[in-house]
């Protein structure tokens, strides 16, 4: 009983942690969903792109001592460049080939970026995170829970980017082209849309978002070549909850995942519950949302 009672008293604090984790996953999931919607390719290298971009920011801001926002810009530029290279040189030549081949290529990129980062910045060394926002925070009224400004920023940026992406998709010409290409590349081409350009744009924007996600996440998780690369699996679970196509549901999924990962720690004295929760949610998402006969995906 005492354990349960102690657990319940922890809940407000855990809710904050869960929501912050959810914000992290949402940031990572948005770019993933954008790329998947337009090109039909699930980018396994998404986490690796985020990781590599973040190390660029680390190089600029921590190693060379420039201000944090310049590091962030450098990271975004690096992310966009990687998105362009991946799409232009390894996706576009395979137009019309099975999607799975392209997906396996993104796994090749994961290996390459991971190994390259480990070579340049050493896999097991300690890296100081790029500081954009102060770690100090404010106390939530009525509780003993302290929310850090960096945590708050992560959640707000995640929600802001999700809204911005949704708005771009809905209201701009580029967004309309992206949706057209997602629905039917052939028909889009007939309407005079440059399918290649739109696809490249989605990879570049999506990878740029991965860079933002990486830089914002690093103060909150281990900053090494491996942890950040593997955030992609959490982003997958979030994106799967959105059926890989819906941004609002992917963001919702991200927050659900964050909370589901965090709450069990109140009741189980075992760090592994975090992984059990992720895996269980992955299985449920795959089994329920992607079961045979489930509503068809809209993306080719």
């Amino acid at each position: 009983m005492t354990i349960a009672a102690a657990g319940i008293s922890l809940l407000p604090g855990l809710t904050v942690i869960g929501i912050v984790l959810g914000g992290i996953y949402a940031l990572a999931a948005i770019g993933l969903v954008l790329i998947y919607r337009v090109s039909g390719v699930l980018n396994f290298a998404h986490g690796a792109v985020a990781m590599f971009s973040t190390f660029i920011a680390y190089q600029v801001s921590v190693q060379s001592g420039l201000p944090g926002w310049i590091g962030l810009l450098a990271a975004i530029a690096a992310g966009i460049a990687m998105g362009f290279v991946i799409e232009r040189f390894t996706m576009r030549p395979l137009t019309g080939k099975p999607v799975l081949t392209k997906v396996v290529i993104t796994i090749g990129w994961l290996i390459v970026l991971q190994a390259a980062a480990a070579l340049i910045w050493k896999a097991n060394a300690y890296h100081r995170a790029v500081k954009l926002v102060s770690k100090s925070g404010f106390r939530l009224t009525g509780t003993s829970v302290v929310v850090g400004y960096d945590q708050l920023t992560t959640v707000l940026v995640a929600l802001g980017l999700a809204l911005a992406t949704a708005a771009v998709l809905k209201y701009t010409t580029l967004g309309a082209s992206m949706r057209a290409v997602a629905d039917d590349p052939e028909a889009a081409r007939l309407w005079g849309i440059s399918v290649n350009r739109v696809t490249a744009a989605s990879w570049m924007v999506g990878s740029g978002m991965a860079a933002i996600a990486g830089v914002l996440i690093t103060p909150l998780i281990n900053f090494d070549t491996f942890s950040l690369t593997l955030v992609v699996i959490d982003a997958f679970v979030a994106a799967l909850i959105g059926r890989l196509t819906s941004l609002p549901f992917a963001v919702l999924g991200a927050f659900i995942l964050g909370l589901v990962q965090t709450y069990p720690t109140a009741f189980f004295n075992n760090s592994g519950m975090h992984e059990v929760a992720t895996f269980a949610l992955l299985l449920v998402a795959l089994a329920v949302l992607f079961r045979p006969g489930a509503r068809k995906l809209r993306v080719a």
Binding site: K97, V99, L110, I111, I233, T278, F279, L282, A287
Partner: protein, 343 residues
């Protein structure tokens, strides 16, 4: 012509086996341990050949299955003083059971989603099953298991050459099994399943049972490799069975061509000796090797999607066969099954 072809093939196999036995006899003990590692890695590539080449499924968690074999042997032999052979059987069966369980979830999925599922499984093993504190009687907690080398019908496998021959023999036996699967009735069934699940089910094939069988066999082979690795190294620790190993071996299997049994030998040799040669000759760190594997995977998929070994084999075959018996493209295409859910 067909008999010529068979002759060439069997001569190649015979020469390969003879070289496999003779060359390590001339090498130093250190190179013999590497040769044994190559045979073990070859087994894992072979386990992917079963899955990808025969039924068109993909897996990024073969090292998790290997870990089941390795840690079962480690915990039973080192922790409970079991006989190695008994522990080996338990480990292989355990791996097969988990493989069938993964296959059971995979029945509903293909392509993309199977890739996600298997990566999920690999990370679940990395971070939960094998992580210290969760299941210490299996994972060994913070210390690693140290199982000793067994003896084989009274012959001790302590010598490096003896152990290599044993591992090589196991690889050959496994290749024979997979070759039987491919050419026999089972092979025809599995290929039918790979080419078109709908067509296969309309002629009365039990898709569920065959897919589960393929997953079971594949996991069992990987588990066997893990059990051998456990006694080869004499120490079992989680770092040797993590997610990065699984994706590297999948990359190697794809680069070599998952449609061919010969890929197993080529893949195993490349993984172990390629890395060693790179470190020895150029004094570059081992990460360079991963970089090369990843770049090779990207390059190969963009420019030669069927795989290097399959490509060479096909060229040889084309020389030998009259033109109308050109190997059918569809037969060779391994990892390209279009995921139904995305198609």
């Amino acid at each position: 012509m067909t008999s010529d072809l068979r002759l060439v093939r069997w001569t190649a196999v015979g020469v390969g086996v003879a070289l496999g036995v003779l060359i390590p006899a001339l090498l130093s003990d250190f190179l013999r341990t590497l040769a044994a590692d190559a045979a073990i890695a070859g087994l894992i590539v072979l386990s992917l050949v079963v899955l990808t080449g025969l039924v068109g499924q993909i897996s990024f968690c073969q090292y998790s299955f290997a870990a089941i074999g390795a840690f079962t042997v480690g915990s039973l032999v080192a922790g409970h003083h079991w006989d190695f052979w008994l522990a080996l059987v338990v480990g292989v069966v355990f791996a097969a059971v988990v493989g069938v369980l993964v296959g059971f979830v995979a029945l509903r999925l293909s392509g993309l989603f199977l890739a996600i599922l298997t990566i999920g499984v690999a990370l679940f093993f990395d971070r939960f099953v094998l992580a210290a504190g969760n299941w210490n009687s299996f994972s060994g907690g913070l210390s690693s298991w140290r199982p000793g080398r067994p003896s084989f019908f009274g012959i001790g496998l302590h010598g490096e050459y003896a152990f290599y021959l044993f591992a090589f023999g196991v690889l050959l036996a496994a290749c024979l099994l997979v070759w039987n699967l491919r050419t026999g009735k089972t092979g025809r069934v599995l290929r039918a399943v790979r080419e078109s699940e709908v067509a296969a089910s309309t002629v009365g094939l039990n898709l569920t049972a065959w897919k589960l069988t393929a997953f079971g066999i594949s996991a069992a082979l990987a588990g066997l490799a893990g059990a051998l690795a456990a006694v080869r190294v004499g120490s079992v620790s989680p770092g040797s069975y993590d997610f990065l190993h699984s994706i590297s071996i999948a990359a190697i299997a794809i680069v070599a061509g998952a449609g061919s049994i010969a890929s197993a030998a080529a893949g195993g040799i490349f993984l172990i000796f390629g890395r060693e040669a790179l470190i020895d000759w150029t004094s570059l760190s081992t990460q360079w090797f991963d970089l090369i594997i990843g770049a090779g995977l990207i390059f190969q998929l963009v420019y030669a999607p069927d795989g290097a070994v399959v490509d060479i084999e096909r060229r040889v075959m084309r020389r030998l066969r009259p033109p109308k018996h050109l190997p059918r493209e569809a037969e060779q295409r391994a990892p390209d099954k279009v995921p139904a859910a995305v198609g």
